[in-house]
Amino acid sequence: MCYAGENRFDFTEGMNVIIGDNGYGKSKLYDAFYWAMYDECYDTNEKEWKKTRLIGNSLISDKAVFESSDSLVRASVKLTFKDIAKDCQYIVERILTGQKKGQEFITDTDSVEEITYRQIAGMTGKLITSPDEVDRIKKKVLPDNIRPYMWFQGEQVESIIDFGERDSLTQAINVLSNISRFDEISEVADAWGESASDQYHRKVKSLSTDKDSSDRLEGERNKIVERITLLEKDLRQYKDNLGTAEEETDKLVNKQEEAIQIRELDVRRKGLEQQLTQTVEEEQFERVDLYQKMFSRRWVLKGSADLVKAYNGKFSAYNDIKITKRAEAKARIEAENNIIKKLQTRLPVNVPEPHNVEKMLRLERCLVCNREAEEGSEAWEAIRQLLSEPDNDLQELEKELATNHNFESDFRRLSQHGYAMEQDIHRVDADIKSALRRLNRLDKRRRSLADDVEKVNNDYANLVTESAIDGERAKRLLSELQAKNEFANRFRANLTRAEIELERKQKELEEIDAKLGDLVKGELPAWLEEKKKLLMDFRDLAQSTRERVFDKLVKQLEDEANKHYRQMMQGNLSAQGIIKLMESSKGNYMPRLVDGEGNPLMQLNTGNIILIKLSTIMAIISARQGSRDTDLYTLITDAPMSVFGEDYTIGFCKTVSSVYRQSIIMSKEFYKNETLRRQLLTDSEINLGKVYMITPSIAESERSNRNSLSTNIKALN
């Protein structure tokens, strides 16, 4: 992401939010704040802070280099702090210059810092030149001890609250109240105790009646003391190791829960994707089928029934004419034949009977008069005339009716076809409707499956990112856990053994001391006895009081953290557990979630863990009694809210905006999720400052060309 050109943000009181997707420049913005003040940026890959001289080149925008006409390019960040009480401003500006030399671009080794002070009313600025004064102003604007808990990046949440470093909780508690005093007093008490002990012991030695015995005992005593020192060292080591193993086991147990979730999600999404593919195939098949039905189910004939009517009208007419003509012709022929018959015969019809007439014709003889009648002769014709000849009639009829072509069968076929199709046409509407309904159902199912797949894929991706477990690690998790457990058990055994031995040795020491005491003639001076007792008791007292004070502060921190935690979890029914800072075997403190009985709640998801840690960080500052830190200093962070889920994100915003007078939060959660964004902008319980949205000037796909990249900043309110 690129901030070439001039980019400006004006923050107000309340919670200011900078919204942008991953890669749009939110981290760079955080770097800008830090760099301006402290000349360093956090390298997330190597997890360390780097000064300008180590990262110089990468601070300058490629686009600016590309576009610069003269060969100089200047990168600068200007932060303006307002002191509300005194009504004045401090402007911190850091500048890094670079120069193009041919193809190369070289930045100056160091950046330049300029601090200006000005009264707002007067608007005249005064450049601060004294390094001490510069330092004082920077500490005034953000005190060093508060800094880690006010300006931090999401990735650092773990390390800030690790309390793994022996002193880090002490450091945090110190922010609340100065407990270092009690540590110092404890150290003094230890030193006094030891010195008094030595003094006493020397006196005992000097008063010994038996130098040889006392020398011998002394020798043994030294060995024991040596052994005790070693054991104490070992003990510390074992406790450390055990503590680490326990921590890592905890982490793994939590991760295991997530690993299981990831596996489940993976299975689910594969199943859903398969269903989706199937549904898509089915849908496509139906679609193709749909168009085939256009013809196979006669849908294309829809609404054309009139054609059938029209054709059949014609066909009927044609048919009628044919019938009429036939009837007419038939009648005419019959009539003609009848007249001929009437004119030609004297006998009644069918006398003689036709079979006799046929006989006569065959014999070629009239059987009435017994005369010959040769075929073809007049007499033979006369006999033949006696037969009524329907065949003849028919032939004659056909001859009359004959046309050039006879297309009747074609026309009839078309007519019958039309009627048949008409039946089909009637059911087309219902047919189409049911096919479309089926298609609709498939479409709906496809959509809903696609949504499900997207959601599950998102959940899966988020979980994998936030838990930093991929599929492979998830499989190995179980064996890792077992190995870690074994380590822990081994250390525990070592620890117990060492403790037992230490106790034994200390007893031996006491015995030897007693023996040495027995060798003493006379009495030890009372004041020495008293001194020893006093200072040993004081040593115990100092330790006890320190613990008490420390515990009280820890409790204070816990209460405050829980206040924040509860507020952020508000409205979430599954929320349970209380934050407790628990001391581990290592002697360090970890924030944990416990139930009502004080049993640790295991298997927390990453979201929960981050919330607990954030609550604790916030508590460190807000619990400072009598302080106005949350009033005077700004929280700047890009805390990873995506692990929370939507409900918690809004809860987080409400809490932050109520605890800190001004905060600047960089977030990606509000980028894609419009509903959440709207909630942010309208929820009356969130004390909102300015909201900005940053987007790249060109699309994702073209972003390989870094020379044309720039950032758009848009205020949303």
Partner: protein
């Protein structure tokens, strides 16, 4: 069946200017059926498998709406396969029925004609078919112009067009 058979020997033509449009809706480009799977072609917005299918569609559209456009002489045209090869043949027969219905041919008179006259009438029927198909194509073209998204966004476009 002689008359219908003879008519089915004819190869109707369509206007060259509709060629692109026809191809855009048809999977088969020119006799190479079976090269693309049906679902693959589907996504390209092709609704008809063969060109004669869309021709039949257009002809029926024209017939239904009684919308025919004469094809002036000399206009560029393209020919494709004879009516007899159109599938399903029932639809082809139905169209023929429709043509007879709409034409001014008198069925009885036809039978009395001489052979060459019959041929002329069959030719007239073919022209009629082309004119109605032409009308149908014009309706499709007009719809596309009026609502460009209709054919590209709507997968049921030709189905909906039946209700036109």
């Amino acid at each position: 069946m002689e008359l219908i058979k003879r008519l089915k020997e004819r190869e109707p033509e369509y206007l060259e200017r509709y060629h692109e449009m026809i191809l855009s809706f048809t999977m088969e480009q020119g006799g190479k059926l079976g090269t693309a799977t049906e679902s693959a072609s589907w996504e390209q917005g092709k609704y008809f498998t063969r060109r004669y299918e869309i021709y039949m569609y257009a002809a029926l559209l024209g017939l239904k709406k009684d919308y025919r456009i004469e094809i002036p002489r000399g206009t560029d045209k393209r020919k494709f396969i004879k009516i007899g090869s159109w599938q399903p043949s029932e639809i082809a027969d139905y169209i023929i029925m429709g043509l007879f219905a709409k034409s001014d041919i008198d069925l009885k008179t036809l039978e009395d004609m001489e052979e060459d006259e019959v041929e002329k009438e069959l030719t007239k029927l073919r022209s009629l078919l082309e004119e109605y198909a032409n009308g149908g194509f014009d309706l499709i073209r007009a719809k596309k112009e009026e609502d460009p998204a209709f054919f590209s966004e709507n997968e049921n476009c030709f189905l909906d067009l039946l209700d036109h």
